[in-house]
Subunit: 107 residues, 2 copies
């Protein structure tokens, strides 16, 4: 984590509806991979791939205890995406302020 493109990995991860469902479920507490897979209409291999994308994005961490792999939310993993959006919003508001100042000058 910490590179310039973390937000790209987070947005790519959250751009998929299955991965958003996984993030919603792990937000309520740690879940085993097999419990995560049960309601999802896809193979376990496909679920594992989605979890790997989430892990690489920094949104989920997994831990293996014995034969059970458990997924947890990594809540600070959202930060690159929220920071990116806040920065865009801030740039836009500064632009609006400058436009407002120009209009004031013309009055």
């Amino acid at each position: 984590m910490g590179t310039a493109h973390d937000y790209a990995r987070v947005f790519n991860a959250l751009g998929d509806p299955t991965r958003r469902v996984i993030v919603e479920r792990v937000s309520e507490g740690p879940v085993s991979v097999s419990d995560l897979a049960k309601p999802l209409k896809m193979t376990l291999a496909a679920v594992v791939q989605h979890i790997q994308v989430l892990e690489a994005s920094g949104l989920v961490r997994t831990r293996k205890v014995g034969r059970v792999r458990t997924c947890s939310l990594r809540a600070k993993g959202f930060a690159p995406a929220t920071d990116w959006m806040a920065a865009r919003k801030s740039l836009w508001e500064k632009k609006l302020d400058r436009l407002g100042a120009l209009l004031d000058e013309e009055e």
Copy 2:
């Protein structure tokens, strides 16, 4: 806007690197569709499609004056995504608090 799944449209929109570039550019001020298209290595039709996805997500608004269509950021369009992430983070933190309380009881 205002339905339960606005966040899905925003995340789907931002899950694409070209659409993130478009959002970055319009954040710096209104841009015509043809100026937006210039540095992008794709057809104008493809750029227009990306803009339509961004418009449907609530992140961009467009306005046609004469023959020029201009794109602007709709900064409040980020809110469904930031709200969704804040809600997941909040659920997770409550879960951690409950786990912490359980551990305290066991001491």
